[in-house]
């Protein structure tokens, strides 16, 4: 059963067994505006929780995306190279960034669940 969690930096992670899928939230894509490019990690890259994993670019800004959990990158979303707009259109679905084979699925427990993230967003304004 997959659990979806969120970070304060507006990444989401869906954990299913020892595979985690990572992306940025709908709130994040709206803040960034039209995405023109996503710089994804290489397959096989080892990421520590909290380390810089990817960079998402609009015309006027480039923002780091951090690994919500530690693991090894198994796949980067091939669709984003040709169509970075997928991140704007479906940030939490087809706009996923990369998948990890996680070393410790328990790391997700520290992160916010859906309700907690909603509350967090409400507090931001």
């Amino acid at each position: 059963m997959a659990t979806q969690r969120y970070t304060k930096e507006h990444e989401w992670v869906r954990v299913d067994g020892d595979t985690a899928t990572v992306g940025i939230t709908d709130y994040a894509q709206e803040q960034l505006g039209d995405i023109v490019y996503v710089d994804l990690p290489d397959q096989g890259a080892a990421l520590e929780k909290g380390a810089e994993a990817a960079v998402v670019e609009s015309v006027k800004a480039a923002n780091e995306v951090y690994a919500p959990m530690s693991g090894e990158v198994t796949e980067a979303n091939p669709a984003l190279a040709d169509d970075p707009a997928k991140v704007n259109g479906d940030a939490e679905g087809e706009g996923w960034f990369f998948r990890l084979k996680v070393s410790d699925p328990g790391e997700a427990d520290d992160l916010m669940d859906g309700d907690a993230y909603k509350e967090y967003l409400a507090g931001l304004d």
Binding site: D34, V36, Y37, D39, S58, V59, K60, A61, A62, A85
Partner: protein, 961 residues
């Protein structure tokens, strides 16, 4: 005797230029002071500038009138001697097409333009730059090129850094072929050291172990002239996971197989020989090309094609997220100002000549080199290289004697060593030159044969496998403008599309777009300044030496520094050199671990980017609510890094346009913890003649001669970024292999000893014309003009930060953030609406997002300041109409701006405002209207669909339908 008879001395008044440079006259100055509630400029300065830093001007020379300064410039020029220089090494004489000289280089419509960040009003120069990029990709055989770098040597260093970023090799070593130009090798070494890159130099055929390096730099043809097949070297490098950068000669590529066709990953070089004068070393546009897959790692500005709101092809700066103004310490490079004007000229040279003439020029140069070689061999002179394009390396018994004979004949040859001489021929080489060379080498009056005698037999030594077979410059733009009339009109059309200072004020904060006076510009094209090779013997450059010493002295006195280096050819380059000086200084004091650089969050993006290049670690210091450096945070961070503190980088007045009162304390805090103060001099226009950074705590500063000291902005270069240093840092200024003292300095940061020497005369002339009093007055008026605008706009837009006395320095920031909530209006919308009013927008969203930073400079008259204020006030009223609901957020004069002729002549007009409001929102525009040639450009489309070379013509035809 008439009562109002003035004495002759008054009639002879020699400070007339000050009145020409400064916008407002006496009456307007008094009136503007009145608006601020003040009586005198002294009062303004006393209120605006913190007393702790006020200083009497140390540069107290009297200003001289224009005729006198021109005469003085002529006297300097007369001390230079123009020989025929055949030294080569990346610099070759050439013929600037007169139509380009007069209509571009000497035309304020081109040289006073800013970097094209507002693309809708910059389509002309963007098109010229696109031609430059296309010319480069064609000739190099690569897939994408940028819009220029500072010089070939620094471009090679950028290539090294890019190889490092891309390469998956674990190695830290970079191989540099000894075939590279020596000055390139020097700059690469200077740039490698702080990054911890190990440079391995040698013969690429025998000394290169590709598995041991992450990248390789080759030169094609070699500095000694050889044309070598490098394909196998490239292949071997790639097999081992290393990347290959090739420094190449652009003209040679018209005849030789280009590096893109034998696997090069990056190609760099100097485009100077495509119609740009030697200028004693610069300014010249370096080119940089790579493969499409590496485009995001490429440094420098890139022009790309997008579409505007009407679907028309429109040009813009693409992929800006690579650059320092967005990426800061993670940028691909620290470069900001590049060499746009010179790139424009080189691109237009290709447009004017087209493939046939470029090929003919290349073949002619190659032929005369071959004839020369054949003749030398007939005279039993040993030509060392078996192949060449334009350069021969010749072995002689007594090189000194040959050089002596050459000098007597007015010729400079390359001094290689006691028995070796280099000869490089170029577009200007004549048959007489070749016959002259034979006599020089033979040591005889006659060679015994002529050029004609040898021509029929002259066989090119270039092996078949290295002869170019592919076409280049195939795009129609390179085929159409080959008559002078066609070219003249094309240049005029391009110029018409752009807004430069010849049309209106360009109030860009921190850019200081002041007058670039004609008198200052005239000497630049005199042959005595323009035609000297950077490595010509210095006794032929006595005029330049005097000019350089004179300018160095002027700048020292103005800034309070002990020594100045004019070598860096941009502010970013100066930052790098200054930080390196600091690092070297700390090492000389025994502190090897000082590597932390404190940088305020409000700093210009080049600051952190330069710090990274200098091998420093960036630690950001917060700003407080007033926009000033947070002293508590500074103290905390200085303490936390006390043992490892190398420097603080500070801009003063701040990037917020404020004279921070705590500046002296800030410098003291840094010094107390063993750090040095690096002063970013971008805002010096608020201080000249009023305060001296060298005296209130700065240890080193860069100046921007293309801001404060009148070198025109050129559309994004040339720039000059000299550094001034306190006495203790003087031993660590940039050096050059051609000058004594190269051992202890930091090394060279540019290929030429005095960087872009060819435009130094502009700043020298500006200072000479203004004199000490004039410079001070310019500063006073710069501060007055900015405060006047702030005062007039404050009721309509909040002014974000102020300093002492509630005043700003020479620029002010107005805050538009609330308008996004109340009317859905962004700074972009205001910037585009200003185009309808005939203005270039102020600096957008820097240093604070959602704001506009306005710097009028002292050169703008009250009329122009008022015209700008009236436009801004009218725009605020339009925004009010959106707030009131009169206009919708999706359909109003701002969101639809800029309005074009196409908009106006459309059959249907369904907007909630009239055509008059759209294009002529104020009456004065009826007499003088600038029409943006395109509607708002789709930036997102441009970055998602990157096209960086001239698009096929049918793209334009389709759009027109």
């Amino acid at each position: 005797m008439a009562k109002d008879r003035r004495p002759l001395s008054e009639l002879e008044q020699s400070t007339d230029f000050v009145r020409r440079h400064i916008g407002p006259g006496e009456a307007d100055i008094a009136a503007m002071l009145g608006v601020l509630g003040m009586k005198t400029l002294d009062e303004l300065v006393e209120k605006a500038v913190p007393p702790a830093i006020l200083a009497q001007p140390a540069y107290a020379e009297e200003g001289r009138d224009e005729a006198r300064v021109l005469a003085d410039a002529r006297a300097l020029a007369a001390r230079n001697t123009v020989f025929k220089s055949m030294i080569g090494m990346g610099y070759y004489d050439c013929l600037t097409p007169p139509v380009i000289l007069r209509n571009v280089f000497e035309n304020p419509g081109w040289y006073t333009a800013y970097t094209p960040y507002q693309p809708e009003i910059s389509q002309g120069r963007l098109e010229a730059l696109l031609a430059f990029q296309t010319m480069v990709t064609d000739l190099t055989g690569m897939e994408i090129a940028n819009a220029s770098l500072l010089d070939e040597a620094s471009a090679a260093a950028e290539a090294m850094a890019m190889c490092r970023r891309i390469s998956k090799s674990g190695s830290n070593a970079f191989f540099v072929s000894r075939d590279c130009h020596p000055q390139t090798m020097d700059v690469v070494r200077t740039r490698a050291e702080p990054l911890g890159i190990e440079i391995v130099e040698g013969n690429h055929e025998t000394d290169l172990d590709p598995a041991a390096v992450f990248g390789v730099l080759l030169q094609y043809p070699a500095t000694g002239g050889e044309v070598v097949d490098l394909a196998a070297t490239v292949e071997a490098a790639h097999q081992a996971g290393a990347l290959v950068a090739v420094a190449a000669d652009l003209l040679a590529l018209a005849l030789l197989t280009p590096p893109g066709e034998w696997g090069a990953d990056i190609v760099v070089g100097n485009s100077q020989r495509f119609g740009v004068p030697l200028g004693f070393g610069g300014p010249h546009a370096a080119f940089f090309a790579t493969r499409d897959e590496h485009k995001r790692q490429m440094p420098g500005r890139i022009v790309g094609v997008s579409v505007d709101k009407r679907g028309r092809p429109a040009l813009r700066l693409a992929l800006q997220t690579r650059e320092q103004h967005i990426r800061r310490d993670k940028a691909t490079s620290n470069i900001c100002t590049a060499q746009v004007l010179l790139a424009v000229m080189a691109g237009l040279y290709a447009v004017y000549h087209g493939q046939p003439r470029i090929r003919a020029i290349a073949e002619r140069v190659h032929r005369v080199a071959t004839i020369l070689a054949d003749g030398l061999r007939r005279l039993d002179v040993t030509v060392a290289n078996a192949t060449w394009f334009d350069t021969l390396t010749v072995e002689v018994g007594d090189a000194a004697a040959v050089h002596g004979r050459a000098r007597e004949a007015g010729v400079n040859l390359r001094e290689v060593d006691g028995s070796t001489i280099g000869i490089s021929l170029d577009e200007t080489t004549t048959r007489a030159d070749v016959e002259n060379l034979w006599r020089i080498f033979a040591g005889a009056d006659e060679a015994g044969f002529s050029v004609d005698d040898l021509d029929a037999e002259a066989a090119s030594p270039v092996p078949d496998g290295l002869r170019r077979t592919t076409e280049f410059l195939t795009h129609p733009v390179f085929r159409r403008y080959h008559s002078e009339t066609e070219m003249l009109r094309y240049l005029r059309r391009l110029q018409e599309k752009d807004v430069a200072l010849d049309r209106s004020m360009i109030p860009l904060g921190s850019c200081t777009m002041k007058l670039n006076a004609t008198t200052e510009m005239l000497p630049v094209t005199w042959p005595e300044f323009a035609a000297l090779h950077p490595f010509a013997p210095l006794d032929q450059a006595a005029g330049y030496m005097r000019l350089i010493r004179g300018l160095e002295d002027m700048l020292c006195r103005i800034t309070g520094f002990a020594a100045v280096s004019l070598q860096p050819n941009a502010g970013s380059q100066g930052e790098f050199a200054g930080l390196l000086a600091i690092r070297r200084y700390h090492r000389s004091q025994g502190s090897t671990d000082r590597h932390v650089c404190l940088i305020p969050s409000s700093a210009h993006g080049t600051n952190p980017a330069s710090a990274i290049l200098a091998g420093l670690e960036v630690v950001v210091v917060a700003c407080d609510e007033g926009g000033n450096i947070d002293i508590a945070d500074l103290v905390a961070k200085a303490e936390a890094h006390s043992d490892t503190l190398a420097a603080l980088m500070v801009t003063y007045p701040s990037t917020h346009g404020v004279f921070e009162e705590a500046i002296v304390e800030i410098c003291e805090i840094v010094h107390r913890h063993g750090g040095q103060v690096y002063f970013d001099g971008a805002n010096l226009n608020a201080m000249v003649g009023v305060a001296r950074p060298g005296e209130f705590g700065a240890d080193v500063a860069h100046l921007n001669l293309h801001k404060t000291f009148s070198i025109p902005h050129g559309g994004g270069g040339p720039g000059i970024g000299p550094i001034g240093v306190a006495r203790h840092l003087a031993p660590f200024l940039p050096t050059h292999r051609n000058l004594p003292g190269a051992e202890d300095g930091i090394g060279a940061v540019a290929g030429a000893p005095w960087g872009s020497a060819g435009v130094l005369a502009i700043s020298w002339a500006y200072i000479a014309l203004m004199g000490g009093d004039g410079l001070k007055r310019a500063t006073e008026i710069a501060i007055l003009n900015a405060n006047y605008i702030a005062k007039r706009l404050a009721p309509h837009y909040p002014v974000l930060y102020t300093g002492p006395g509630g005043l700003v320095a020479h620029e002010c920031i107005i805050d538009l953030r609330a308008l996004e909530k109340s009317a859905g209006v962004t700074v972009d919308d205001v910037a585009k609406r200003l185009m309808d009013y005939g203005f270039h927008a102020p600096t957008m969203s820097w240093p604070v997002a959602g704001t506009l930073m306005i710097e009028p400079t002292e050169s703008e008259s009250r009329q122009e300041l008022d015209r700008f204020c009236e436009a801004m006030i009218a725009i605020r009223r339009e925004i009010g109409q959106i707030e009131d609901g009169e206009f919708g957020r999706e359909d109003n004069p701002l969101v639809n701006a800029p309005h074009t002729l196409d908009d106006l002549i459309a059959e249907e007009w369904t907007r909630p405002y009239g055509r008059g409001v759209a294009a002529f929102p104020v009456k004065s525009l009826r007499d003088e209207k600038y029409w943006p040639p395109v509607n708002r450009i789709d930036q997102v489309y441009g970055d998602r669909n990157l096209v960086c070379a001239c698009p096929p013509l049918d793209a334009y035809e389709e759009a027109a339908e």
